[in-house]
């Protein structure tokens, strides 16, 4: 038989972990409410059972976009039953959603998750009592250990066969469509079935919060943590690893290909394509893999442990003057990795206005694709201040993002202030598996980009610099790329980099910001011929802030369902970048650099 089961549950209830265990897929799981921002689909191995992981939700009112997706899907008739993942350690709040599911005319089976934690705390839950009171099966499981998931699926299949669909009211007489009534039901069921040890002692999580959320220590600790993330990511040894990768490509890989191609009597254009185009382009990018691995590893730990959500709590007040709430902090930090997931993460924000604002400013956060540009330029022109300059770029991106929030929230994205409501889950020890999955996902994404879009761009750039418009072999002065570069160069002349090579790099960088560096290495020539210190700085600033890459523009368009806003975002960033680069360039010239 074919079945489709929908996974429904509160944010942070372990739904994604259940999904991963059932389907064997590698969905990343975080410890902040709202990690699953769109529905995901997977099949249980060797069966015809499809599992749909819906966005986590506290409720099924159609009032928020996330809740509406979940509700519409459940009622669509596509799923045969709902598997309601319930965090047993947080039973009462989780059962509220269960009472709503009971009203949707679909068989419901509860996966009572985190039972291992309940037992470890020396507590007990009487499953039979819960089943009797709510009239649906409760299957105790531990998703993280994979315990009892077979029984869960069996119960779901059985529920479909029986077609038992009790309503919330089958066991009670009062009208039950108010939240208060549903919560009373959840409360009674919990009190009845859950033997809690009420020690009154603060938990470990409470003790950690005493320090990390302490009135005087919270902000200094936050700053130290964020600074440490940078210091570790861009420390000496991580730059050293980068050099190793770069040398590996420039030396070993390049030589190996040359030997093979020479042996095969390959034509010289192919040799040039491979070593000057592909290896130069991709090698220049993959050299940054060490930093990216380290950065994502640290961000994963911050997210998985539950610190990120606390940072949102700490920062909420400080972010309000800029039209943002504390929750906007999370997508912005994700933006240090990549703007696309950052834009997706805005789905958890409370209002459409705040989402729009965050989507417009998140691309200013310096993503990992921009890192190669700073390392290359700072290394060449400001070698002894390299780390400070790189750090400064990240700070500048943040400042521009925040100031943009201030400006945009007073002009184009005006609107009423909204509430800030956020569940703060207990700290959780990040698991090795989950952390590595998170890092792997992002790193794979980066490598995949290197192998696809950057590869293609490298080939195109190589072609355009090797040939003229009439497809004869080009010199530097009559190649396709130099003609295009010369055409747009005047735009950048006031910023100090009116050289056609710099202009072309800016243009190709729109396909992906890594391609800026790839283009410069393919075109060849020393950076010192193209830039001086002032224009190098202005170029870094410009590439930090200018038009986001096509993937980001597409994400802006699809998330805001508007081409107009995507165009606005690109135009706004271009103008901001131009102005900042202009100011920096002229300031540098004035002080004589």
């Amino acid at each position: 038989m074919e079945y489709t089961f929908a996974l429904v549950g509160n944010p942070n209830s372990g739904k994604s972990t259940v999904f991963n265990e059932l389907t064997g897929s590698r969905q990343y799981v975080g410890n902040w409410p709202g990690v699953t921002v769109e529905k995901k689909e997977g099949m249980i191995k060797n069966t015809k059972i499809t599992i749909i992981d819906l966005p986590g939700t506290y409720s099924l009112r159609p009032s928020s976009p996330e809740q509406k997706i979940a509700r519409d899907y459940i009622k669509s008739g596509e799923p045969n039953a709902v598997i309601n993942v319930v965090d047993a350690t947080n039973l009462e709040r989780n059962l509220f959603l269960t009472t709503q599911l009971l009203d949707l005319d679909i068989p419901v089976v509860v996966a009572l998750n985190m039972m291992d934690v309940v037992e470890k705390n020396g507590e007990e839950i009487d499953v039979a009592k819960l089943e009797k009171r709510l009239g649906i099966p409760f299957i105790p499981i531990s998703a993280s250990k994979g315990d009892n998931l077979d029984n869960l699926i069996e119960a779901a299949i059985k529920a479909v066969a029986v077609g038992n669909m009790p309503t919330c009211c089958s066991n009670c007489k009062k009208p039950c469509h108010t939240s208060a009534h549903r919560y009373n039901l959840a409360n009674e069921a919990t009190r009845d079935a859950y033997k809690k040890k009420n020690t009154g002692k603060p938990t470990i999580s409470d003790k950690i919060d005493k320090i990390l959320l302490n009135k005087y220590l919270a902000i200094p600790i936050f700053l130290i943590i964020m600074f440490s993330v940078f210091a570790i990511t861009f420390g000496e040894w991580s730059l050293f690893l980068s050099d190793m990768v770069r040398n590996f490509f420039d030396g070993f890989i390049k030589n190996a290909f040359q030997i093979v191609l020479t042996y095969l009597n390959s034509p010289s254009w192919l040799m040039s394509l491979v070593s000057d185009g592909i290896i130069a382009g991709i090698g220049g990018i993959l050299a940054f893999l060490p930093q990216i691995v380290i950065l994502f590893f640290l961000l994963a730990i911050l997210e998985d442990s539950g610190y990120m959500v606390r940072a949102a709590f700490i920062l909420d007040r400080a972010m309000r003057p800029f039209g943002l709430g504390g929750k906007a902090f999370i997508p912005m930090v994700i933006g240090f990795g990549c703007s696309v997931p950052a834009i997706m993460a805005t789905r958890t924000l409370d209002s459409q206005r705040e989402r729009k604002l965050t989507i417009l400013i998140a691309p200013f956060m310096s993503c990992s694709a921009r890192l190669p540009i700073y390392v290359l330029f700072a290394g060449t022109f400001f070698a002894s201040y390299q780390q400070i300059i790189i750090f400064g770029m990240y700070i500048l991106g943040m400042v521009v993002a925040i100031v943009s929030g201030w400006i945009l929230s007073r002009t184009v994205v005006r609107g009423e202030r909204t509430e800030f409501l956020l569940e703060i889950p207990p700290y959780r020890m990040p698991t090795v598996k989950n952390t590595l999955l998170h890092v792997w996902d992002r790193v794979w994404d980066f490598v995949e980009r290197a192998g696809t879009i950057i590869l293609i761009a490298s080939v195109v750039v190589w072609f355009c610099q090797a040939f003229t418009f009439t497809l004869s072999t080009a010199t530097q002065d009559n190649s396709i790329i130099s003609s295009i570069g010369r055409l747009i160069a005047p735009i950048f002349a006031p910023l100090g980099f009116g050289d056609w090579r710099a202009s072309v790099a800016v243009l190709t960088g729109i396909a992906g910001k890594e391609i800026v560096v790839a283009t410069l290495s393919i075109i060849g020539g020393s950076l010192a011929d193209i830039f001086n210190t002032a224009s190098a700085m202005s170029f870094m600033v410009f590439t930090l802030l200018y038009i986001p890459c096509v993937a980001t523009i597409a994400a802006v368009k699809s998330e805001l369902k508007s081409t107009g806003w995507a165009v606005f975002a690109s135009a706004y960033q271009l103008v901001v970048a131009w102005i900042f680069a202009f100011i920096i360039y002229n300031l540098m010239k004035v002080v004589g650099l």
């Binding site: 009373n184 302490n214 703060i424």
Partner: protein, 73 residues
């Protein structure tokens, strides 16, 4: 009328009424902030706002302005 915003850190009270408009009312009640429910103020953020409250066994952060819409006894 006393509201959650008036409670000191560590103080407990029982919700008696919500004066929020419909949308916020729904969100607050979804989080379990319903009449008759006990709340405890756990702490305030370092800048004094938002505050962290304990309700139905879990911790929820909300702004003072919003907590002033929740009347307690």
């Amino acid at each position: 009328m006393k509201t959650i915003a008036d409670l000191k850190v560590g103080e407990k009270a029982t919700i008696i009424n919500l004066t929020a408009e419909k949308r916020l009312y729904e969100r607050l009640t979804d989080f379990g902030l319903t009449d008759g429910c006990e709340v405890e103020v756990i702490r305030a953020a370092p800048l004094g706002d938002p505050i962290l409250i304990k309700v139905r066994g879990c911790q929820i952060a909300l702004r003072k302005a919003d907590s002033a819409l929740i009347e307690v006894r």
